[in-house]
């Protein structure tokens, strides 16, 4: 066990698990603590944590936050709104054909299938400290016009705490809907969050999942996405991080049967000393499965963005088509990008492409706009926005795309002063 964890957190973790009830979830949590003790917290010795060290940003104690009330700062018209404040469900809507309930480790209740598979201590820490699970079950053939929006909000009562929450979504055959998860720090200080989302897509299900993360000024923020795709199902996933001090996002998508398709896109826009590390694995476990991935990063000041994207095409997964691209824009010289596209192919009849680009705004592109009467700093702003927009467009939804653009521009101003002066 990692020394820091052993000394500092052992008592906290025992305390958090002291009053657990006797149910499936609490048993999973106890097992996870054993796992956590053997793994320790992840560090740079692990290849997939090479660029991120969380020790310095971890809270002194792993105190659990208190329940509270709060309102979101970002509203989507006509959305089905779920509020989770400090890791506890406070508000949920009634939607025909959609069953929403919470499960906690203190009360007895039935269980739903969950994926308890972790590579390292970050995932086990999430399980060990879990406050609640939000289970959403969508019936067969349900099509929702309006999105479900899950707000994860944090108030002062979560300051100096570690909050841990899991969303588990089971989408039955042929259902079709959009789900947004919006994580907002509000006025919590020195907060850390260890959250995860599971998506289970049955035959022919179509899910659009959008994860927005912002206003997490301090602490460690870990979020995981795990998706299991059955035959003919389609996942469009998009993660957008703007303004988070230290964000680690783990993505694992399993394409388990023919004609399953996943678009796993993302964007991070960083400034100051922010750090965002995305580690993505897409497994093609069956023949005729398809994936596309565009991950974009914009870094300014002293920020550091990392994208590691692995595509694995397993043996017998013939006729797979997979495309992956990581594109990054460095706005100031002191900002940093690490991009690692990785491809592991064990089948012989597949079409796979991957690549990464890292660059500044091109002089020729800037000059094109300047020669049309646009000032250099404004030209840089327009080009950086265009760069970002291409990623947002991948969401492919006529009302959500402009909404996400607005969400981003009200939270992150692309500062191009460094470019303008060079």
């Amino acid at each position: 066990m990692n020394e820091v964890l052993a000394q500092q957190y052992s008592a906290d973790l025992e305390a958090r698990q002291a009053n657990l009830g006797q149910n499936h979830l609490s048993q999973m949590m106890r097992d996870s603590l054993t796992q956590l003790k053997s793994h320790g917290l992840p560090g740079k010795k692990l290849e997939h944590w090479k660029y991120t060290s969380i020790n310095s940003e971890m809270p002194e104690q792993l105190a659990a936050p208190q329940a509270d009330q709060a309102s979101p700062t970002f509203e989507i018209k006509d959305a089905h709104q779920i509020l989770i404040v400090n890791g506890f469900l406070t508000t949920m809507p009634e939607i025909p054909g959609v069953h929403i309930r919470k499960m906690n480790p203190h009360e007895s209740h039935d269980s739903i299938p969950m994926i308890q598979e972790e590579r390292d201590g970050a995932g086990w820490l999430h399980w060990s400290t879990l406050q609640e699970v939000l289970a959403i079950q969508i019936e067969k053939n349900v099509m929702l016009e309006n999105p479900i929006v899950i707000h994860h909000l944090f108030t002062k009562k979560a300051s100096k705490c570690l909050s841990s929450h899991r969303v588990v979504i089971h989408a039955a055959d042929l259902c079709d809907l959009s789900i947004l998860e919006v994580t907002t720090g509000l006025d919590a200080h020195e907060l850390s969050t260890f959250n995860a989302t599971e998506l289970h897509l049955s035959t022919g299900a179509r899910i659009r999942h959008i994860q927005l993360t912002s206003e997490l000024k301090e602490g460690v923020h870990y979020s995981a996405l795990k998706a299991e795709l059955a035959r003919d199902s389609y996942l469009n996933s998009f993660a957008l991080t703007a303004h988070a001090k230290l964000h680690r996002r783990d993505i694992k998508v399993n394409l388990n049967d023919e004609n399953a398709t996943a678009h796993v896109n993302g964007l991070f826009t960083l400034k100051d000393h922010e750090h965002c590390d995305t580690d993505s694995i897409i497994n093609h476990n069956a023949a005729h499965t398809f994936s596309e991935q565009l991950y974009k990063g914009v870094v300014a000041d002293h920020s550091h963005g990392i994208f590691t994207g692995k595509i694995v095409v397993h043996r017998d997964a013939q006729k797979v088509d997979s495309q992956q691209l990581s594109r990054n824009l460095i706005l100031t010289k002191s900002a940093h990008i690490d991009a690692r596209p990785q491809l592991e192919v064990y089948a012989d009849d597949v079409k796979c492409s991957h690549g990464a680009t890292i660059g500044q705004l091109s002089v020729d592109e800037l000059f094109y706009l300047e020669s049309r009467g646009i000032e250099r700093s404004e030209a840089a702003r327009i080009l950086a926005h265009a760069f970002v927009q291409e990623a947002i467009d991948k969401v492919g939804h006529s009302t959500l795309v402009p909404l996400l653009s607005d969400w981003l521009s009200s939270r992150y101003e692309i500062t191009t002063t460094g470019v303008a002066n060079e």
């Binding site: 002089v363 094109y368 020669s371 049309r372 009467g373 646009i374 000032e375 250099r376 265009a386």
Partner: protein, 260 residues
């Protein structure tokens, strides 16, 4: 009226000197064609006038008529040159995904209007203003709602450059190889656009490899550029001779060395 005067201009990109004492005078109402073999400095000349930051003026001066007075262009940033009526049509127009053509045109148009003290336009009015120009260039209205140059064919990009030319209505149009890569139909349309722009109040400089363009846009002067200098100037008939005989005879006549 004298619009532009390029006097003994030397310019370099990084350490390489490309223009080596170039002189040219352009008056309003004139069409000039700049021709010459590859690498002679044709594109550099138009970029230097428009103010591309990769090119440094090391000697000489470029003067441009602003409000009746010749002014040193080196004092103006590229965007200011544009707002004062200098337009550069690009050989390779840049794609700007996420910015609609309409917004781009409107923004540039209004920026120029503000700079010149003219009234700005709102979107609806601007669409009507563009309608005739689109028709002239045989461009569909849907072009306005597409992202600037994104996914455009070569011909569409060049037509879009001419649409910008007609919208901004500059006093000096520098068209850098606008004809290259165009099929004959697109060439005719682009030429029609340029001819409709031409007036006694403005001037056009065509940088081109091919005499073919000059069948459609008839120049008053043809300049042969070689090794960073203009080595011959003639009338429109010079293009035909160049087409027939190539550049070697001009270079010999000028006393310069061939293929140094």
């Amino acid at each position: 009226m004298k619009l532009l005067e390029v006097k003994n201009v030397h310019a370099r990109v990084e350490e390489k000197e490309i223009l080596k004492g170039l002189n040219i005078t352009i008056n309003t109402g004139e069409v000039h064609a700049i021709m010459g073999p590859n690498g002679s400095g044709k594109s550099t000349l138009s970029k230097v006038i428009a103010g591309h930051p990769s090119f440094q003026l090391t000697e000489g001066e470029i003067q441009y008529n602003i409000n009746g007075k010749l002014k040193d262009l080196s004092e103006l940033e590229p965007y200011e040159r544009s707002r004062q009526g200098i337009f550069l049509g690009f050989q390779y127009p840049v794609e700007i995904p996420g910015v609609s053509n309409l917004n781009f045109l409107l923004e540039t148009y209004n920026a120029a209007c503000k700079a010149q003290g003219a009234p700005i336009m709102e979107e609806e009015e601007f669409r009507i203003f563009l309608k005739k120009k689109l028709e002239l260039l045989e461009m569909n209205d849907s072009f306005l709602d597409r992202s600037v140059n994104t996914g455009f064919s070569g011909g569409e990009k060049k037509k879009n450059e001419i649409l910008q030319l007609l919208t901004l209505n500059p006093r000096l149009a520098l068209l850098d190889e606008t004809d290259s890569g165009l099929d004959i139909d697109a060439l005719k349309i682009v030429s029609k656009g340029v001819n409709s722009f031409k007036s006694k109040y403005n001037a056009v400089v065509l940088v081109t490899h091919y005499q073919r363009l000059l069948n459609y846009i008839v120049p008053d002067f043809i300049h042969v550029l070689y090794q960073g200098r203009i080595i011959k100037t003639g009338g429109k008939e010079l293009a035909l001779t160049l087409e027939e005989k190539g550049y070697d005879w001009v270079i010999k006549e000028s006393g310069m060395e061939l293929h140094p």
